[in-house]
Assembly symmetry: D2
Homo-oligomer: 346 residues x 4
């Protein structure tokens, strides 16, 4: 019963198979290999974006922070939600990679930036002279850190504001598969058609070992990006092994299937929580469940070895009800979900 | 009637005289001159800190950001008030100089960090693993950006929390003279005796052309600081001219006299505002006045050429009453103050 | 006939098997997994360094640059060979990760730093005041970028100089296995017993997909290193897959066996070159061969599809004889080596 | 007899007078003052560059490093002479401000970059893929660190190479006045007409207290430069005092007069050295003299209190003849020059 994170689980067998299948023989390094070419091509096709520039890195923090450096100057203001991964969970990576950008963290219900808050922040940035830094970029996460989703229309509203101020819109898609599965809309619809300029398309939480794709829908925005990857140690010499992971996920729609599987398990947890008089702290729209459960249920679950994070942190221990976060993966065992619900029901 | 800022005014004649008095002849550069030695010595004496290491730079942003780099690692969490100058008005200088530190900006009444908020933030930082970065340092401003003051006791409460977590306490004293004059307490009492580890002792707003002293009460904390100054272009070859400015202010207590003069003018403005049915948005404890005045009074003042900032920015234009900030300097003309009050009274 | 680089080849089957063998089930992320613990332990044992701190990253550039940031301040002088990988081939990664360090690149025969050159550079650094930066650290590569080796005695001479000036000694061991195999000495003898403080122990070129271990022989030097890894995007959530690769190499001595295999192939190439009247530009001591071959032999080889780099770059095309670099891997096919030699002989 | 540096001397009386003359009253801060406007205008006129963007900072290191950050990306290769101030004497400031650029230091007679060396370096940079970083910018110093001069034609040859590769050309003009006086050519001829894109026009060594102007001949290159100044603490709130210094130098041709005065004194020293059988190590073309003098002359001079640097550093003590550097300023006393020559002659 491990609900700590979707990255607590291993890789999908197809990903491992893909590694083995491209292991033979010599290939040119650093991305000049046929596996990379195929993976790039498959992603462009998936996103109906024949001109997009696609790059691979191994971690989500690398993907996000490199994009921040690409889109935001050192003296820029980077607008994001106050609970954004780049703000709370990357140890200052955006500040480090950009060389000093100021993250301007905005409140917003359900982990989503609200257009009014963004508009006001951009207005202040524009009027602040040198002091506050220059308006730099906008970043959103979909699925959000609270498991909720931005619809294409909601993305478009933010994109319009960003573009109106000359700013690029980045989407942290560490759980993009869960978002796409949850919304039931095409990747293109949720990204470039809605105004997203750069997507970090997460593989790791979706079933890869360690692989993410950075997609620049306008390839001009990718200029010199490879130098940044190299300078930060994120160019793999044997890059075929990064690309192969993404290829395995993207080919034949595996990514979306896995995203839907994870979401379904979260939905089942949510049902169990409601049935047991627990409360959902956020609508459950993807593969994360934020809930508050009775103290005795919590005690039963812990006693039975259930693993999950109290939320926002351990200081929640002792509260009644107990706030917590549950995250499911495509391979979270069905019986772990069932057992969790049983224990919860008491 | 210029109340835009205390840095809108020139230098005290004693400061200019000091420049002229040390201009003759050759001296070794980069701080190895007798003027620097005398200024350092005078500051150590003023602060009753015979072991302190004293360094000179030309701007407050340089002083603060260099100290941040000295006290906080690139992956550190830097705790400050959400309205701190380092957070709102230095264009990301702390992020740039530290190489990526995360400013954790906390709310707090009157521009002051509250011990409970700091304690909670430090607790979260300590429990956040790698994600949120390591607890790094604490920075406060005295006088605050809202013109209010920390008493020695209030400083000590924050210092105790910082030190308890192994963090150094920095005081941005861009308006330290106004704080000391307002509180009527000795420099030592307000700094190292209360637990301040490093003070940026502002000269520019106090009557210098462009000079600040960085005071490390524990000289071990100044190790390698000169390399940072050099690498950021803040070592003056003819450093005598920086040191001379601070010397002129510190000798014979001029700094405190000028701080008191500025404060007195702010106090008079505050009286005038209250007399004219305006409201003070913050207690007036140093040389800044935050007030809301009737729209018609604002119109009369603007028509008469009064210069001041609406607060927090121009978007306040049209509000009734009009929120604004007035800042006084030692040499704000008495009649400008009087005229302001008259116009306000209508 | 691909002799472009040892990273042109895939992973050893044991490495792929190791990934599969740890794929099942949930494990805590970010290094708190049993595979990481076992890999760390195996490396400590291999190096007879029970107290060493071991960390895993995916690329050699990341390993080296992170160590530079750990050992050298932003204003430090980093002494290395002028052909060191960190100087020529990491796109400024050391400068970026350290936040501004100055690489002081020294000449030296065969890719090796000479003690006299290092001593002189350290002396200058010590006497240069603020201008040149502070003496920071020393970095050497073993096997070197020219395929030559430092003996333990040679390492010790440099370590003595570094330590005498208070500087740490880093060894870039991207091809450490080839060095150890070539010298026939124990890992401990070539590293901490000779004074190496931190080793980047390369897995990728040795037979991993993408894995390197950073070994801090004094664990105190590893303090906060994980924050740096995290801030630069080099902490893997599913770290088991990094650790498993290194574990597969280290267990049962596979690493050394593979290093010896690669070396043997380089030796055979060298014999073939000498037999064909080519010249060796450097002694062949590990798995790289720098040679000059007749123009017609070069033409024959290219026509037959042989892949290798002219040296130092393409501008060597047209020279007679043609200078080039050949690098072998454990799995460079025997017949490729044989065919190369035949074609060379004409 | 102080010949240590031209920055060992104070400011010209006209500079001090300029400070006093603009001290009265309130002015808007951060550059929005009339003194700044006048100084910018005077510099544009002097350089016959009506569209140039002019910015003021207090130190040469700040000027140079900020320009490097403006012209060279973090992953860029910055070509300069191996004895360039930015390479040897700024403590890694260019690396810090750019966020990681790689300084590629080239040999060249008399402190001057040679076009062939630059062409070769640019060619290598262009062909080096990601490893070596991207071609970034070119920087030269005039007068050079060896007191020699680039003629407009020599500058143009380098500019052509730089521009041909899409790189901007920066001139460090810490001693630009000495260069212009030595060459007898107009400022425009030596800069933008010869292809210089950005000039750091030094005031400090020319007679200011601490002031430099950065001149972007194409104002588009100055975009966002003020954010960089601000973020690095180099925007003065009372900027009138920076601008006034440069204005005093530029108005009425004082800068050129002072440059010529300093050069004349160096010329007299050179004559004295030759007369006394000393050797000039470089042609004396500006205000620096590199010479080797007999040991006994050196002893006499030291005994008489003469101050100068042995070259390249103290380790030259004991050599015979003794290599040294002498730098003159506009106000180096005539009798100090005469006395030096007398003592030298014995």
């Amino acid at each position: 019963m491990n609900f700590a994170s979707d990255n607590a689980w291993g890789a999908h067998p197809a990903v491992l198979a893909a590694l083995a299948s491209c292991n033979e023989g010599a290939m040119m390094g650093y991305g000049a290999d046929p596996v990379t070419a195929r993976a790039e091509s498959a992603i462009r096709e998936l996103f109906q974006a024949p001109d997009a520039a696609v790059r691979f890195v191994a971690t989500g923090t690398a993907a996000n922070a490199l994009v921040c450096a690409q889109l935001c100057p050192p003296y820029g203001r980077l607008y994001c939600h106050e609970d954004a991964h780049i703000q709370t969970s990357e140890c200052g990576a955006p500040e480090f990679f950009t060389g000093g950008a100021k993250l301007v963290a905005l409140a917003g219900e359900g982990g989503r930036l609200h257009p009014d808050a963004l508009a006001e922040a951009i207005r202040r940035g524009a009027g602040g002279g040198l002091n506050g830094g220059r308006n730099g970029m906008v970043s959103i996460t979909n699925a959000t850190e609270w498991g909720t989703l931005y619809s294409p229309r909601q993305v478009a509203a933010l994109a319009e504001l960003a573009h109106g101020a000359g700013l690029a819109l980045h989407m942290d898609g560490a759980r993009f598969a869960n978002a796409a599965a949850g919304l039931g809309c095409a990747p293109a619809e949720l990204t470039w058609r809605a105004g997203v300029d750069v997507l970090c398309f997460g593989g790791t939480k979706n079933g890869a070992m360690a692989a993410e794709a950075v997609i620049f829908f306008d390839p001009a925005r990718a200029e010199d990006f490879d130098y940044r990857r190299k300078q930060s140690g994120h160019v793999f010499s044997k890059q075929r092994f990064l690309a192969a992971q993404m290829l395995a996920l993207v080919e034949d729609g595996l990514w979306l299937e896995l995203g839907a599987l994870a979401n379904a398990k979260a939905a089942r947890l949510a049902e169990g929580i409601l049935a047991a008089q627990g409360a959902l702290l956020q609508p459950v729209q993807s593969n994360a469940v934020f809930a508050a459960i009775p103290t005795d249920a919590h005690a039963r679950l812990r006693a039975a070895g259930a693993i999950y994070h109290l939320w926002p942190d351990k200081s929640a221990e002792g509260l009644d009800p107990v706030p917590l976060r549950l995250v499911t993966a495509w391979n979270t065992p069905e019986d772990a979900v069932a057992r969790f619900c049983e224990l919860l029901a008491g």
